[in-house]
């Protein structure tokens, strides 16, 4: 059932190809950028709450994140940049690979995430990525050592 949201999002006004993967740790200025989670928990133990319906990024929504940056408060998905991203090795997202290799799982069940059908991390790493995703903050001032290591482009 949860696939409906992302399918509508993708096939809606913008008419984009829903087969194109989405990056689940993207920037708000990228094509098809959509808020799909809000960072909850505490400053040193963040935890993503997933939106029941992803919200396309707008200037009005961006204003809500002031005075901090959108990546500190939301998880944003956007079309995977592929070779334009320093984490892409030509075939796979190495950030997703390091996420699974270096971070501990924080969720036993699959989170109720609406972007999953198009998520590059899910497509590439499966449940192992989803079980770690809730602990990820795109722009973080208090990263764990493991997060810091995983975030480094190779």
């Amino acid at each position: 059932m949860w696939q409906c949201g992302v399918d509508q999002m993708a096939a809606g006004k913008r008419g984009k190809d829903i087969s194109q993967p989405l990056c689940p740790s993207a920037r708000p200025d990228m094509p098809e950028s959509t808020i799909f989670g809000v960072i909850g928990g505490s400053a040193d133990d963040p935890h993503v709450s997933y939106l029941s319906e992803p919200l396309p990024v707008t200037q009005e929504l961006l204003a809500l994140s002031q005075p901090v940056k959108p990546g500190e408060v939301w998880r944003i998905a956007a079309r995977c940049a592929g070779a334009a991203c320093m984490h892409f090795d030509g075939s796979d997202c190495q950030l997703a690979r390091r996420t699974v290799a270096l971070l501990p799982p924080v969720s036993g069940d699959l989170p109720a995430c609406r972007i999953r059908p198009r998520c590059q991390w899910w497509r590439q790493e499966g449940k192992a990525a989803c079980s770690r995703c809730p602990a990820i903050v795109t722009e973080s001032y208090l990263p764990s050592e493991a997060v810091r290591e995983a975030a480094k482009p190779r």
Binding site: C23, S25, A26, R27, D29, M30, P31, V38, I39, G40, G41, S42, A43, D44, P46, H47, V48, S49, Y50, L51, S52, E53, L55, L64, S65, Q66, P67, V68, K69, G71, E72, V73, W74, A81, G82, A83, A84, C85, M86, H87, L95, S107, G108, D109, P111, A112, P134, I136, V137, T138, E139, S140, Y141, L142, P143, V147, R148, A150, A151, P153
Partner: protein, 79 residues
């Protein structure tokens, strides 16, 4: 009795709850920024920049041109 767990494997929020959740998230982010400034041994507040978990810079346009490096989009702004 009605308290909700702060963490849940299936935690999700409705669009109606989005604004309030975002406000709480902004507060959390400001806490994180303040905590990050405290560096043992530093004479004054020493502001540590954030780590970016994902693509660092985004070039304008839909064509996904190759980035020059991690600082790509910012470097060229100087006169």
């Amino acid at each position: 009795m009605s308290s909700k767990p702060e963490k849940s494997d299936t935690s999700h929020i409705s669009v109606q709850e989005f604004t309030e959740a975002t406000f709480t998230a902004v507060m959390r982010a400001m806490d994180a920024r303040n905590a990050a400034r405290i560096v043992p041994g530093a004479k004054e507040d020493f502001k540590i920049g954030p780590i970016i978990y994902g693509i660092v810079a985004w070039p304008d346009g839909d064509g996904f041109p190759q980035l020059q490096g991690p600082q790509g989009a910012k470097g060229a702004e100087r006169p």
